[in-house]
């Protein structure tokens, strides 16, 4: 069930090639991560729109009981 931090970053990277991506394994169990994604494409979008795009990049990894990723705390913003 678990997923590697690198795999999460790779999935996000595929959709946001130029983003600054920081993945943190919160519990050390491969199940609870935090991801910060800073990307120019987020400018002018609200948080819901930004994070929908990140979830889309994760392609169903978050999906309920069959998802490999139980918890991903997302922070998204455009570069300062």
């Amino acid at each position: 069930m678990a997923i590697q931090a690198q795999e999460i970053e790779d999935l996000i990277r595929a959709s946001f090639p130029l983003a600054k991506i920081t993945i943190t394994d919160l519990a050390g169990d491969g199940n609870h991560y935090a991801a910060e994604v800073i990307d120019e494409s987020f400018r002018g979008k609200n948080r819901v729109q930004q994070q929908r795009a990140v979830y889309a990049a994760l392609k169903g990894k978050m999906d309920g009981a069959n998802g490999q990723l139980h918890a991903l705390a997302l922070t998204t913003k455009a570069p300062e």
């Binding site: 819901v48 929908r52 978050m62 999906d63 918890a71 705390a73 997302l74 922070t75």
Partner: protein, 120 residues
Amino acid sequence: MSDAENQIRETLSSNAVVLFMKGTKSMPQCGFSSRVAGVLNYMGVEFADVNVLADEGIRQGIKDFSDWPTIPQLYVKGEFVGGCDIITEMTLSGELDQLFETEGVAFDKDAAAKIREANG
């Protein structure tokens, strides 16, 4: 339109603030749901809670409805506001207060300020 979608629309049109969550506001069954329900309770916001664990159709239906893969989901005046991370950020930045003020939702301003003090 599916039954679940009808039910979701009905709930959203008859309640100004709705939280789709795991468990209930008095007995949350997931830490993320608990956090958002806790903020709303503490801020004295009147809201309807929908336990997605009690209805598989709603559990999937609300994700399809909002195009958002996780629970909890907070709605104000029928609009999806966000999940746990977004609501936490908005609480701490004061944006949630602004939204409630704009939408005419009653809440305890002092309680909101106390949350920010404690997490500042």
